[in-house]
């Protein structure tokens, strides 16, 4: 299987990706699901997004994604608060399948501690993690 895991992103064991963005000196992190996650879920037909300003801790529920097959949660990998949600996903949830690292981003959260971000998995670590998960199936 050849999933795409861009090198400039960070990853989690729950198959989210995170990307540091710097807007006017304000540190924020974009979060979405990985190419592997979207492929496992297959046709995504519904997304539930958090309200703006919600404070989240690592492991808190950020969003709910429903594919034809299943319901799955998206968890926050970091401490922060929700700055922005991708509302285009309400009408076009298939963007999560078609462009998981671009148009299919889910939320942007303001973070307080950059070291938490640095501690997330690298692309190569995540790749190894996925390969191992696949072998166990």
């Amino acid at each position: 299987m050849d999933w795409n895991f861009p090198d400039d992103l960070k990853y989690t064991e729950r198959h989210e990706w995170a990307k540091m963005t710097d807007q006017d000196g304000e540190k924020a992190v974009l979060i979405g699901i990985t190419d592997y996650a979207q492929d496992q879920l297959s046709e995504i037909v519904f997304v539930e997004l958090p309200e703006l300003g919600r404070e989240v801790k690592p492991g808190d529920n950020l969003a709910v994604i429903e594919s034809v097959k299943a319901v799955s949660d998206v968890f926050s990998p970091l401490n922060g608060s929700v700055l922005e949600v991708n509302e285009t996903l309400f009408d076009t949830p298939e963007l999560l399948n078609e462009d998981p690292y671009g148009e299919g981003w889910i939320v942007r959260i303001a973070i307080t501690d950059e070291t938490e971000y640095a501690a997330l998995m690298s692309a190569s670590d995540y790749h190894a993690f996925v390969r191992q998960a696949e072998e166990e199936v």
Partner: protein, 368 residues
């Protein structure tokens, strides 16, 4: 857990990159390209499904009809040779053992097509009630079963034989048709709400029939594609066809599942479950299978609770996003005393209430 079984078409599914899953002990493709696309393709063109996991039980003997009268809620006396009948099989309390297709070769020979996961249970249930002089054989391993479904099905299948299939009526069958060198049984039946055929082939020749269908379709510009169990489940939901384990089970009677057409109280013969079902009908149903359409964004799924006002009134037995309708639909057990068609109810999804409307079934009906 025993190793999941492979159908005679297992290698075909791998070649076609089907996503294989263990479905009730069988390795079968849940999808090839995507369930939604496979559903829409079936509605527009034609799809081929491997449903070889279904069970086939042959019942033979001079009194075979009387035996079937006893175990079926429907009336096999109304069956003619080379015709198919749908019928529930009930427990004495009216609960459902299975829902099956009955193929009549002649008055003394029938093939029962049963749900895969119920094959053993059905076989034991029937053999415990067998009358003298009747023989029963589980032929499930001998048959592969292909379902060719969709508006182009007739054009596709007709490429393989000179027998005029257009004349084969709905729920009729041909016991012997040569297809790709294999002697098959072909019925005009299906589980999708579309026109189509079900092809019973000898297991060793199933792959040849499968290949020949695609080859013949391709050389006649007919877009036949394979489709998986996921699409099949959505297709049958859109057509509001019940699925055992969801709309039918030991605790649910055929009357509650809306199958009164298939429970013959007018037939002379007594049948297992008759008294209980007659009593239930007389007393009025406490729950009845109804159709729900979600009015908000979201997906209705099995197990979700349905409320009217603050009162919990029922639950969803099957639900999905339905691509043909472009919305989420569900089958739900609801109390007919309290709930009517057109009512707006609430479905609880992750502790939040979503508005859903009670609608007439089926959600989808093909134009003729």
């Amino acid at each position: 857990m025993p190793e999941p079984k492979k159908t005679p078409l297992y290698e075909k599914h791998l070649q076609l990159k089907g996503k294989m899953i263990d479905f009730g002990g069988w390795l079968l493709p849940v999808e090839y390209r995507g369930m939604l696309e496979e559903v829409l393709h079936t509605r527009k063109k034609a799809s081929l499904f491997d449903v070889s996991h279904m069970g086939e039980i042959l019942v033979e003997g001079s009194y075979a009809e009387a035996f079937l009268q006893k175990v079926l809620t429907n009336d096999p006396g109304r069956l003619k040779d080379n015709r198919v009948m749908y019928s529930p099989v009930c427990y004495p309390d009216g609960g459902t053992v299975d829902d099956i297709l009955v193929y009549r070769y002649n008055r003394e020979k029938y093939l029962l097509v049963v749900n895969a996961s119920n094959t053993e249970k059905d076989y034991n249930w029937l053999s415990d009630r067998l009358d003298p002089g009747i023989s029963m054989r589980n032929l499930s391993a001998d048959f592969a079963l292909l379902a060719l479904q969709g508006p182009d099905s007739l054009s596709v299948l007709q490429q393989l034989t000179h027998v005029s299939l257009g004349e084969l009526k709905f729920y009729h069958f041909l016991p012997r048709v040569m297809l790709a060198g294999a002697e098959c049984m072909v019925s005009r039946t299906g589980y999708t709400g579309e026109d189509g055929f079900e092809i019973y082939c000898p297991a060793p020749q199933a792959a040849a029939v499968w290949d020949e269908l695609f080859t013949a379709a391709g050389s006649n510009n007919l877009e036949l594609k394979p489709a998986g169990l996921g699409a099949r489940d959505i297709l049958r939901l859109e057509a509001a066809l019940p699925l055992y384990g969801h709309e039918l089970k030991k605790e649910i009677t055929p009357l509650e599942a809306g199958l009164e057409k298939f429970v013959s109280f007018t037939k002379e013969a007594d049948f297992i479950g008759r008294d209980a079902l007659a009593r239930q009908q007389k007393a009025g149903l406490k729950k009845h299978l109804m159709g729900l359409v979600l009015l908000e964004r979201g997906i209705l799924r099995e197990g979700y609770i349905v409320k009217k006002g603050v009162e919990e009134v029922g639950w969803i037995s099957s639900g999905s996003f339905c691509p043909t309708l472009g919305k989420s639909c569900a089958l739900a057990f609801l109390p007919p005393q309290k709930v009517k068609e057109g009512d707006t109810l609430k479905v609880v999804i992750r502790q939040r209430e979503y508005a859903a409307q009670v609608v007439k079934k089926p959600f989808y009906r093909r134009e003729n």
